[in-house]
Amino acid sequence: MQKFAMSTVVLALAAALSGCQDKGPQKEFVSIEKNPYPSTYKPVSNKSVLITDATVLTGTGERLESADVYIVDGKIQQVGKDLAVQADTTVDAAGKWVTPGIIDVHSHLGAYPSPSVESHQDGNEMISPNTAEVWVEHSVWPQDPGFNRAREGGITTLQILPGSANLFGGRAVTLKNVPAHTMQAMKFPEAPYGLKMACGENPKRVYGRKGVAPYTRMGNMAGYRQAWIEATEYKAAWEQYEAAYKAGLNPTAPERDIKYDTLRGVLDGEILIHNHCYKAEEMAMMIDLSKEFGYHAGTFHHGIEAYKVADLLAENGNCAALWPDWWGFKMEAYDMVQENVAIVDAVKNSCAVVHSDSDTTIQRLNQEAAKIMYTANQNGFNLTEEHAIKWITYNAAKSLGVADKTGSLEAGKQADVVIWDKNPFSVYSKAQEVYVDGAKVYDRNDEKYQAVSDFMLGQR
């Protein structure tokens, strides 16, 4: 199958090179629309907000006591003590804690929503080991009640990923966690797309069982390499077409293939890899694979054994998105250590992220980070809240390619902010108010700001 697919691409390429390149009047240039399902998200309010007298964790490693956060036009205007400014709304946050909005880089909300009934299994196109052509945004059901529960836990941004049965699972999408009834109205403007890849047990189990490749881990690697060879050819074919057209020739455009559009996007550096990959030796190979084909290996998700290759990840600029304690559900999850995130984080230039992959723990990523921080501190680390908060804010934003927009409380950034009733690293802490782009989207003490999904409305 793979072989035939390749020769198709080679044929297309040959057609593009040798095809009608006469100098006659040029046909209309064939360009690929890169954003056919654009975001329609609009912030709910543009009123200015002043949050006063809180313990502020900025997301950049700083902790400010009795500090204020000033939001104007949906952006962080200023963070500091005793700000002498006037705002439309002032929130007295004395005794409370303020953090950037929490970001989950690994969610299936909307694609595997609640209720998880037969009709809702929209997260994984398990028909071929390479389904780079699917876009998970086309599966997102915005009425998943899980979005509301996650917001009540402080989640303001989340990446929805396709499942992990395939070597290439399809495009991931980053959403703003605002109530909406279309996917586009949640779509994070200008966030890069992700491409889900998967290592290890899942692809070889799902397809090996059907008697098709991959049947083994070496089959997995062969599958990735073959696909990248084809993608490289596809990219070259389009680039030659574009160059020839610009040179005034009249080439025939290569045949469009949305699978390779996505893989080409990775090779062009426009789409970021999000790779489900548990084991040390596999992460090392995926890094080499990326070098073999000239792209960046991106973020490793679920890297149970990331602590074994912490140096390698930092050297190559790979984020590792990890759980505090999930383990044992399969062999590749057997070598868990509770300090995984802390060990990865301890290396210079690292990017440790805490993720959920769960509609339950997405509601308390702050507490997932707390588990790691305290367990690590009991075993020789010296981590602080102001540092650990980065695992679910700034580092997560970096992994998604939106660190210039959100993930920290810095002037100019989008005002995605959470007010917590107490230290968010306490088991008793709860988000009190949640802001997305300066608009209040949740208030624990005001029903007006507690969204209810269409599905739950009227249920008794």
Binding site: P145, W326, G328, Q338, M373, N379, V427, M456
Partner: protein
């Protein structure tokens, strides 16, 4: 329930220990007794021969004294509704003994229990000293019988078998829930009739089958019936069955329980639930809420907390779940009971309380047991001090976190 001879187990434990009948005194402890004595400050607890022999004795004479420095001493927490010791790796079928296609009401997996499982030292990290193992069952509505183990990881750590019958009802992926409920009722009625006939018969030589023995215990209210069910209307149907047959019924999961909390409370039916279950996973659980544990507690229901998803590998999270229940309306004392004495009460265990004569399963905490920042200072199971930092996870962490010029494989 079958209880194991404690002295045999203790004997095995102490065979390796130097001093027989060594007395340990824990002094200056803030003891959460989980009895009507409540919380005792500056208290002394004396342990000998696996048991608590005195609390606040007039004079203390001990071989070992541990100054608790006012820190909190609780009974060891009790995990439940999982397969710890019956599963090593979820997706490795040859390491799974909690499921059997033909499992029935008689399915007792206790002989398959593996005390050397890596899950056990890890479970201790959560302050757990005992655990109620529940088989996953098979195709029948009856999943089998639960059993209880301590978490020493020693051989002979099964402490009780046949502690409850597990039944699964409610939504089905094929067929009607009505049929499942009828299967339960038919079994109970059938056994009831057999017993009635037998009472009339002179000849009682017929040895009842294992299933008949189990059902007889159920009908006598001696064996709790733990029923996994979620929807409010299903709960009400079950309460009728409880009344009809005099069952010792316990509801498990029961996401919709708040809708019928009065009926649950009035019928004295305990509820086992996960404190973090708050999504409508199907149409049976539309009312799942973080506030359920607290709401049921306030309605007078006996609440037991069990870890929900991945309940075997991460049963250690139980204390955090208890904290989340408190954050959402449960009393701190109620949550402590929900992970200790309430579990002991429902499953009939000598555990879950700090009282004279009780098994000495104790945990000394650095602070509030539910907080992430709190660590375990000391743990005793059956009076013996046990390690909470010697799982293979600890070994792996140390291996990869210890500088060495040699390949990691040489760091042991």
């Amino acid at each position: 329930m079958k209880k194991f001879n404690l002295s045999l187990v203790t004997g095995a434990l102490l065979a390796s220990s130097a001093a027989f009948a060594q007395v340990t005194a824990i002094t200056n402890a803030t003891v959460h007794t989980m009895t009507d004595k409540g919380v005792l400050k500056d208290a002394t607890v004396l342990i000998e021969d696996g048991k608590i022999i005195a609390i606040n004795p007039s004079s203390v004479s001990a071989d070992v004294t541990i100054d608790a420095q006012d820190k909190i001493l609780t009974p060891g927490f009790i995990g439940s509704m999982n397969q710890v010791g019956l599963v090593e790796v979820g997706a490795v079928s040859r390491s799974n003994d909690g499921y059997d296609k033909k499992a029935s009401a008689m399915f007792d997996a206790s002989t398959a229990f593996n005390p050397r499982s890596s899950l056990i030292p890890y479970a201790r990290k959560g302050g757990l000293t005992q655990n109620v193992v529940v088989p996953r069952g098979g195709e029948s509505i009856f999943s089998g019988l639960s059993f209880v183990t301590d978490l020493t990881g020693d051989f002979e750590s099964v402490t009780a078998t046949e502690t409850a019958l597990i039944v699964r009802l409610g939504a089905k992926s094929s067929g009607s829930r009505a049929v499942s409920l009828k299967q339960l009722v038919d079994k109970l009625e059938g056994q009831q009739k057999k017993l009635a006939k037998k009472d009339k018969k002179e000849d009682k030589k017929d040895e009842p089958s294992k299933e008949e023995q189990v059902l007889t215990k159920v009908l006598k209210g001696e064996l709790p019936v733990i029923t996994k069910v979620s929807r409010a209307s299903d709960i009400l149907e079950l309460l009728k069955v409880k009344k009809q047959f005099g069952l010792n019924l316990v509801l498990w999961n029961a996401e919709d329980a708040p809708l019928v909390k009065t009926q649950i409370s009035e019928s004295n039916t305990p509820v086992i639930l996960s404190a973090v279950s708050n999504l409508p996973s199907d149409f049976d659980s539309l009312h799942a809420s973080l506030e359920t544990a607290g709401e049921l507690e306030k309605a007078g229901v006996k609440v037991l907390l069990a870890v929900g998803s991945d309940s075997s590998h991460n049963v250690y999270q139980l204390r955090f779940d208890a904290g989340i229940a408190v954050a959402n309306g449960m009393s701190h004392d109620g949550a402590l009971k929900a992970v200790t004495s309430n579990i002991a009460d429902v499953f009939g265990l000598n555990a879950g309380k700090v009282a004279k004569g009780q098994r000495a399963d104790l945990v000394l905490w650095s602070a509030d047991p539910f907080e992430f920042s709190t660590s375990i200072e000391s743990m005793w199971i059956n009076g013996e001090k046990v390690n909470t930092n010697d799982s293979r996870h600890d070994k792996l962490r140390d291996r990869y976190n210890t500088p060495s010029d040699m390949p990691r494989a040489y760091t042991k």
